[in-house]
């Protein structure tokens, strides 16, 4: 259902989600993302970022990309997950891509246009 791919060279985590990101799917997605980051960086178990001095450089370059190609519905819990992940990485390194127009508008109305790149 969820597809998480990490591209080592670009230090980018691509995440693809199913059509309905409701309050049931969203926590699962959050868990998957957290697990993956934990596996990669070791310090991401908690929702709030924690990392050692040595990780800073790696962390600095980390990019997270949420691909919403199939997503037709987002709940507020999913939007919150987007915010958490956007704050986790360096400003500008969190992207939402392949939105459907209505989903894009949802993010704009939610006021996230300045926090993350939405395309």
């Amino acid at each position: 259902m969820f597809k998480l791919i990490y591209e080592l060279e670009k230090q980018t985590l691509f995440c693809k989600f199913p059509d309905r990101m409701d309050s049931e799917n969203s926590p699962l997605a959050a868990q998957k993302v957290n697990e993956k980051l934990d596996e990669l960086y070791g310090e991401y178990k908690d929702e709030l970022k924690k990392f050692t001095e040595n990780d800073i450089e790696k962390y600095e370059k980390l990019k997270i990309v949420f691909d919403l190609e199939n997503v037709e519905f987002v709940s507020s819990s999913f939007i919150r997950i987007c915010i958490i992940n956007a704050k986790r990485v360096k400003p500008g390194n969190f992207y939402i891509i392949n939105t459907q127009p209505l989903i894009k508008k949802t993010f704009k109305i939610a006021g996230l246009g300045n926090l993350m790149e939405i395309s």
């Binding site: 459907q100 127009p101 209505l102 894009k104 508008k105 704009k108 109305i109």
Partner: protein
């Protein structure tokens, strides 16, 4: 009381007295007054337009004549039959009588971009609703605005209007404007102008009707009649050198029709800037620090802009087109520019094109206007759904379309409400209907279901909404 406060006090005192006298007028007298005022304004349309163009050094005088025509003839046509005095409706069945009451003194702030036309329009809608009006012109349009107000005032007096029903401010200062706006005798501020001014009006504590900034996207659907669409966009964007805030700011097209659209724009004498020229024009059009358009290019012709930017364009160029890859502060020309400069976007498919329109819309034009050219109902309704706009104009030049009266039946207006997104109270085209308070006389009409229902049941908490509702509507 300092000098500014004293001046404001005097102004408001006179306006209040005028409001008192105006209250005694009936519909017929009011109609006679606005007919006289409209005719006087209309008869001076050319003189006022030339004065405005000369004093403000922006726009095209012929187009300013058309604006004055809109502000007089069209506004008059739009409001002349409207009931704005006393009983305006009565419904025997509901028992409701609606009575129009004037608001009181109105402070009308006039922008530099449409000076005389906004004065004429505001005076007409204020007088139609028996509200005295105080005209506060932009400092760069003082002379022409005062002349327009004076012409109207004389005509109004001739038709029997109360003394001081139209006043104007000949010398403004921040303190003076503040003193006027916060005076408790002032009923309403009609704030047309920049964001700062509108905010000041809203913060004054006096009710205000303002406008929001625009950033109008225009989407060319594949079903659009392209030569027609291009011609319309040019008509709108070149109208008074693009000073109307509802004029198009960016054209968005799909890849499959892009070439055809570009050819058509070129054919109709629009010049596509190269990347280097885009940077040069961007620098003079937008102030990088504030992200706002620079006043020196507002309402200027292509020749003047080309000269300022130090670029060469073919003679007779109507619009400078800037093909951009993105939306935002890094692409200055994607922001609102009230001059004949038009951003141009090519997107690979329909969804992406619509998404670019959303970006442009949310970049600084929320609640204002959006425009689409299409001959496909589904596309039109999808587009309208996704835009946050007070007006979505279809197959229409948006500057003239949004103002109303020419291409549609919207109220002819020079103050376009932009709703909550533009920090306004309404998305309507502000007109006379917005300048009355409606008092409702409510005759006794019993709600029979309520009285037939055994109200003791409300005290029984065991009864659910569904059960009560069933009982309440029984035999109804």
């Amino acid at each position: 009381m300092n000098k500014d406060e004293m001046k404001a006090n005097d102004l408001l005192e006179r306006a209040s007295i005028a409001a008192g006298v105006f209250n005694l007028f009936d519909q017929e007298q009011v109609n006679r007054i606005i007919k006289n005022v409209y005719e006087a304004g209309f008869n001076n349309r050319v003189k006022l337009a030339k004065m405005a163009a000369e004093e403000t050094q922006l726009g095209v005088w012929q187009h300013k004549v058309m604006k004055n025509v809109l502000a007089t003839q069209m506004v008059y046509e739009n409001i002349k039959n409207e009931k704005t005095v006393g009983v305006i409706s009565y419904d025997k069945i509901t028992g409701i009588t609606e009575i129009a009451q004037p608001l009181g003194p109105i402070f009308a702030v006039i922008p530099v971009t449409n000076p005389t036309s906004t004065v004429l329009y505001k005076i007409l809608i204020c007088l139609k609703t028996r509200n005295p009006v105080i005209i506060s012109p932009h400092r760069r349009a003082r002379k022409c605005c005062i002349e327009a107000a004076n012409i109207c005032y004389e005509a109004a007096l001739k038709a029997g209007a109360p003394e001081d029903c139209i006043q104007w401010v000949s010398k403004t200062s921040r303190d003076f404007t503040h003193a006027c706006m916060t005076d408790p005798r002032l009923a309403l501020i009609l704030a047309t102008g920049g964001t700062g001014l509108v905010k000041a009006a809203y913060s004054s504590g006096t009710p205000a009707m303002g406008v929001g900034p625009g950033n109008v996207p225009v989407f060319f659907d594949e079903s659009a009649d392209i030569p027609f669409a291009v011609e319309n966009v040019i008509d709108s964007k070149t109208f008074d050198n693009g000073t109307v805030c509802a004029c198009e700011q960016a054209v968005v097209v799909e890849q499959k029709i892009a070439e055809q659209v570009i050819d058509e724009f070129k054919k109709q004498k629009c010049y596509f800037l190269n990347p280097e020229e885009i940077e040069k024009v961007g620098k003079i059009a937008i102030d990088i620090h504030s992200g706002l358009m620079s006043p020196m290019i507002v309402g200027q012709s292509v020749e003047v802009i080309a000269q300022l930017a130090n670029i060469k364009v073919p003679d007779g160029t109507k619009i400078l087109m800037a093909k951009l890859d993105g939306v935002g502060k890094n692409y200055p020309l994607s922001l609102e520019v009230l001059a004949p400069i038009l951003a141009f976007y090519i997107e690979d498919n329909y969804d992406n094109a619509i998404k670019t329109c959303i970006d442009l819309n949310y970049l600084g034009g929320v609640g204002h206007t959006a425009s689409i050219y299409a001959n496909n109902e589904k596309r039109i309704s999808e587009f309208a759904d996704l835009m946050n706009a007070g007006r979505v104009v279809v197959n229409t030049p948006s500057a003239q379309g949004a103002v109303g009266g020419l291409f549609n039946t919207l109220h002819t207006s020079f103050t376009l409400g932009c709703g909550a997104g533009g920090k306004n109270i309404t998305t309507e085209n502000i007109s006379a209907v917005n300048l009355i308070n409606i008092k409702r006389i409510c005759r006794r009409r019993k709600n029979e279901r309520w009285f037939d229902f055994d109200q003791i049941k409300y005290f029984n908490e065991d009864l659910s909404a569904e059960e009560i509702n069933k009982e309440y509507n029984k035999n109804y």
